[in-house]
């Protein structure tokens, strides 16, 4: 109501200065119309508010449109004349409003999306950041080689609870792992002395002589079984030692020299097996590692290639700048690439080895972070170690 009062007040002040105001009979461009009326009519007029529709043309409209307006009808007296005054005020401009609303809604919507994205990107990401970093640490965690447990750097209870649970789980796993490792080590270790005594006693027994051939044969069988046990045991001990990192007298070693030396050592047996060893040196390869372990790698690979070969076969050793390939002829079908390095894997055709030679090579490679792979190509079995 206040609005209305001020509008009519303004009009009254204006007509005092400018009497033409009183001549304005139609709304036209303005927002008021004045008719002169008689005194009796004027006295009968009561202020009246009315909502109605009226053709109007705003600056932004192309043609007059029906707009809802509020109309005030009132009367006043001026210098003995009575006038009726009608004041209109456009209530809304509906289509404009719809447009306006649409724009604003879209704007609001866009703003909302932006804010949502912002919240997602910044707030949520920051909120989950400890979780993702924890997840990452877990992914990189390796039992036996990682020193620190994954940690969450937050005070959020859910995350710290998660960390506690994971840490307990890992601790249990590590304990089991250590126990198992220790057990294998201790067991093989404790077996050494009884094995030594058994072997030696049997050797003395045979030396004594006076044996029937069939008795001797039995003893020979027992001895070869014990010998197998001894070899198995030694391999297990070696594996345990590698896994316990008990060899780390690292030196710079020329692999070329090592290969030549190994080939030299194995020459006679290769000749006996009718296998030819070819060494191709396309680069000088030096590595940092323990000498005895480097020896084991090279000689195990070579032995493997010589023993699992055919008569008139070949063993090729390629020494590259960062890798060594050992390829050999052998059975005409690929080995199981996944199992060839696992413990006690033996090919169907040959069951005589311990099945630990390549496992040891792999364990050494893992210790030093070298990668070892097997593939069957051009009828050759390829073993490749990449040192860098």
């Amino acid at each position: 109501m206040k609005d209305w009062t001020t509008t009519s007040d303004k009009l009254f002040t204006r007509h005092k200065k400018d009497t033409s105001v009183l001549e304005k009979r139609a709304f036209d461009e303005g927002f008021f119309a004045i008719h002169e009326i008689s005194q009796s009519q004027a006295l009968a007029v009561k202020d009246k508010y009315l909502d109605t529709l009226m053709y109007m043309q705003d600056a932004d409209d192309e043609s007059p449109e029906l707009e809802p307006v509020r109309l005030l009808t009132t009367a006043f007296e001026n210098k003995g004349h009575y006038y009726e005054l009608k004041i209109i005020n456009s209530m809304v401009e509906e289509d404009d409003l719809v447009g306006e609303l649409l724009r604003e809604a879209i704007g609001l919507y866009l703003l909302l999306i932006t804010v949502v994205i912002l919240i997602n990107n910044f707030v949520l990401q920051r909120l989950w950041q400890p979780f993702y970093s924890f997840l990452n640490q877990l992914k990189n965690y390796r039992i036996g080689s990682s020193k620190n447990f994954p940690e969450v750097s937050t005070k959020t209870k859910e995350f710290t609870d998660l960390q506690k649970a994971v840490t307990i789980l890992l601790q249990q796993n590590i304990e089991t792992y250590e126990q198992q490792k220790q057990f294998i080590g201790n067991a093989s270790h404790e077996l050494q002395t009884p094995l030594a005594i058994t072997t030696n006693k049997l050797e003395l027994l045979i030396e004594k002589g006076n044996l029937q051939p069939d008795q001797a044969e039995n003893i020979a069988e027992v001895m070869s079984l014990i010998d197998r046990m001894v070899r198995l045991n030694k391999s297990l001990l070696l594996l345990t030692k590698i896994e316990n990192k008990q060899f780390l007298d690292n030196r710079t070693i020329s692999l070329n020299e090592l290969v030549k030396q190994s080939v030299n050592d194995l020459e006679e047996i290769a000749e006996f097996k009718n296998v030819k060893i070819n060494v191709f040196e396309s680069a000088e390869l030096t590595i940092q590692m323990d000498v005895s372990l480097a020896n084991i790698i090279v000689s195990n690979l070579l032995r493997n290639a010589i023993f699992h070969n055919v008569s008139n076969g070949n063993v090729n050793v390629n020494i590259l700048e960062d890798a060594i390939h050992v390829s050999n002829t052998g059975i005409e079908s690929p080995l199981n690439a996944e199992k060839v390095f696992s413990r006690f894997y033996k090919s169907e055709s040959d069951q005589s080895g311990t099945g630990l030679g390549l496992t040891i090579v792999k364990a050494i490679c893992e210790l030093y972070g070298f990668s070892i792979s097997y593939r069957f190509e051009n009828s050759l079995h390829w073993f490749t170690i990449r040192f860098r």
Binding site: H189, Q192, L195, E203, I206, M223, D249, F307, S352
Partner: protein, 225 residues
């Protein structure tokens, strides 16, 4: 030749004693740290077999004691622990050799002979039996002063047999010795057989005073004719 065996495992000690008696050595034994320490203090030995893990003390301490007396050069460590640390420490303290359990009797025998020969004063590095001479420095083999060419493995095998004269050398022991300490040595017995066949031929055609005979298909024995 006087030898001391320091080993706490009774069975093993007794087998070693039984084996070494065949070589006509004088043998004494000790089963723990204290008795070993006493014996070392009082007597001199030509060779000492020393176990590292002993009741109430370590073999390495005994080695130190020997080193202080200047007598550690004829010690062979025998240990169930094939630990590089112990090996290095032992050799640093002057031990001559390190043998990991389990070992073959022939191997122990060969190592003892090697220690005894190295510590002999005449400094000759040859083995002479009957009409044959094996020169370990020059790696030559002569029969009746005539050179008989041997390949590397044949030489090693003959050397091993000569160190174990009149003793059984099992194929396993031989394979291990000639091959070195390796793990997957299965089915190289054919190779050993082949090498021995050649060696026998060479000994026969050179009219050597020794021969290698097969024992029950388990191993071989070198004897003087």
């Amino acid at each position: 030749m006087k030898i001391l065996i320091v080993e706490d495992e009774k069975d093993l000690r007794e087998t070693i004693v039984a084996s070494l008696k065949k070589e006509h050595f004088v043998i004494e034994t000790a089963s723990d740290y204290l008795s070993a320490s006493e014996k070392i203090e009082v007597y001199n030995y030509d060779c000492i077999l020393l176990d590292i893990m002993l009741p109430n003390g370590s073999g390495l301490e005994l080695l130190e004691q020997l080193k202080n007396q200047g007598k550690s050069g004829n010690v062979i460590i025998i240990s169930a622990k094939d630990s590089l640390d112990d090996k290095l420490k032992g050799l640093e303290l002057g031990a001559d050799d390190y043998l990991t359990k389990p070992f073959h009797i022939a191997e122990l025998n060969a190592r003892i002979k090697a220690v005894l020969r190295r510590n002999k004063l005449d400094g000759k590095n040859t083995i002479e039996i009957a009409n044959i001479v094996l020169d370990l420095t020059e790696r030559t083999f002569t029969v009746n002063k005539e050179n008989v060419p041997l390949n590397r493995k044949e030489f090693d095998i003959l050397n091993y047999f000569l160190l174990n004269k009149n003793r059984l050398v099992t194929k396993n022991a031989l394979a291990e010795h000639v091959w070195g300490d390796n793990i997957d040595q299965a089915d190289n017995f054919d190779f050993i057989y082949y090498q021995i066949k050649n060696l026998r031929k060479k000994l026969q055609s050179a009219d050597a005073g020794v021969e290698i005979e097969a024992i029950y298909g388990i191993g071989y024995k070198l004897t003087e004719k």
